[in-house]
Symmetry: C2
Subunit: 344 residues, 2 copies
């Protein structure tokens, strides 16, 4: 570890308010794609992605099902590539999400999906990438991302997908204008994050949980922690946690629940009650009312629930960064990782 440890990741986390504001200024691009989607209605949406972008895709699945009433599913790229299946995708939209647009299996599955009749939309941070050239392309405009642990490209993907789906549904995007300020407010609360990081200083595992829109946030936070601190971080939806993995948690193995205000947060109430009843060490990152007095945690304050994944991940990105530094690790140099992962 050096004085510069984590400098790249910290800088890119700090760029997010500006990145998101610039993306909002470019929302006409999302509107233009949305107009094409409305002109050629899909019956079903498949989402294909890996790693961090897979959590943006999972967010989009919730948003599409809830906002558009379209059934949506996460694709298993290997069925189109390794298994060479030829599904009938004539009324399917495949949305491929990738920071680099460069992972060969993702490019190949997008090409295959197009051959099988799907419309393909790539959502990337790389307009010149192979993936961007397969079909339609939506640029997330995050600027060059150099840290191995993706941060600004994730929030940009999430907001770009929100802008796209909102325009597709014919909705008003004005609400999103509040997001950069909410993110900036998180960046100003470094001391609270450092206190949380101190709490988790010596744990070797952490379970994260959330429901609905907060579930992708829990998964992305777990991935950031795995990448930067090598912690055994698990993420479960609140419902799945009760179906088995709850046996794994105890007073010595903490749980961090992501509970923004809204429907998903309300659906977490029985899960939180069960965890408290079992005496589990619980930390709540959540909206007003989700934390008990004296319980450790971090307060979230907006934006609206459907937009909350753009902002709520930010304190958790900072948590991963601070926990890595506290453990003497350099989050800019995780073991075994390169910026563009090439999987086949």
């Amino acid at each position: 570890m050096t004085e510069q440890s984590g400098a790249l990741m910290r800088a890119e986390i700090a760029q997010q308010p500006d990145v998101l504001a610039a993306l909002l200024d470019a929302e006409n691009e999302a509107r233009a794609i949305a107009a094409r989607l409305r002109a050629r209605p899909a019956r079903f949406v498949l989402l294909a992605a890996r790693g961090t972008s897979d959590h943006a895709a999972l967010y989009a699945k919730y948003l599409i099902e809830i906002t558009l009433g379209l059934p949506a599913g996460l694709a298993s790229p290997s069925t189109l590539t390794a298994y060479d299946s030829r599904p009938d995708l004539r009324d399917v939209l495949l949305i491929a999400v990738s920071q680099s647009g460069g992972s060969p299996d993702l490019v190949e599955s997008a090409v295959r999906a197009r051959e099988c009749g799907a419309h393909v939309l790539a959502v990337t941070n790389a307009p010149d990438s192979a993936l961007a050239s397969v079909g339609w392309h939506l640029d997330v405009h995050a600027g060059e991302e150099r840290a191995v642990a993706a941060t600004k490209s994730y929030t940009a993907e999430v907001l770009a997908l929100w802008l796209l789906v909102t325009a597709w549904a014919g909705g008003d995007s004005a609400r999103a204008r509040a997001v950069p300020a909410v993110v900036r407010a998180h960046l100003d609360r470094q001391e609270e994050i450092a206190t949380l990081a101190e709490r988790f200083r010596f744990t070797d595992r952490l379970v994260l949980t959330g429901r609905g829109y907060a579930y992708p946030t829990a998964r992305e936070a777990a991935l950031k922690l795995m990448e930067t601190t090598y912690l055994a971080a698990h993420a479960f939806s609140g419902a799945d946690l009760m179906h088995g993995p709850i046996a794994m948690v105890s007073k010595s193995h903490p749980v961090l629940a992501v509970v923004p205000d809204g429907v998903g947060g309300r659906a977490m109430a029985p899960v939180l009650a069960s965890l408290r009843e079992a005496g589990v060490d619980l930390t709540v990152v959540g909206g007003p009312g989700s934390r008990r007095p004296g319980e450790p945690g971090y307060s979230l304050d907006g934006p609206d629930e459907d937009l909350s994944p753009v902002a709520d991940i930010v304190p958790l990105q900072l948590l991963a960064l601070e926990m890595a530094l506290a453990r003497g690790l350099d989050p800019d140099a995780p073991r075994g990782l390169n910026k563009v992962t090439r999987t086949w």
Copy 2:
């Protein structure tokens, strides 16, 4: 821990050859449902499940995409229930998989899906359950399951789904007749399992990985380990492992790869090579040729890749049982779990 610790789980693991043979004898039931599915073709399949059954559903997703060429996705029950979305499901088949047929959120999401136009098929071990009454029903005939950690109901669900999809595709089911004997052969190799359990005696975490049809097996094995040994067991598809979580593994944190012969196993070759190159402690549960000489592991021998999830989970169920007992835990009494999990 008492002399009886794990007796229920062990007994139900041992019943699997008979359970699977009985299910094969009842395959006309799957054929009858398949005839109805062929008469009312779906454009898309949604699968809804929780916990262990979610892994059977994930298996079915691969099988449906590869065998039938139909796009398929795992449903997020909360979008239909908590978020009250009303997707247009008029040409969608919803397959809900559940041992008990009793989880309220699953029943409610099946009812909602039917209201939104979907055909609903419940695959359960409980023909009198609420879920079984929503639409069509396929009984997995596993008999009463008393152990909290589901074993025989899982393999029965997987085989029932294989019989259903094979009949739906107009295929021949004769190949499945070999499965009970393969499972019986695993049950006769307790000593090898005990040796593997000894290897993992002191680890506090384990990463499991597999691709394609083996990925649901890796996920189900991780869940069994979490439920019975409280180990921090993670499962990643081979591709996703390379996109981030690989930073978490090292010489002191072992990886168990499930690599049956076939397409998925071949697609794992670059992942195994990367893990070996990084000096990771690697155990391979796999077909001939997947293990290096002297490398710890367990050899799998058939059945065909599309049927392998029925059999390949059995040594891993036994591994979870033996590891729990070696740690002085009673796998029949996991912390915080009941047989029927009620989530809303």
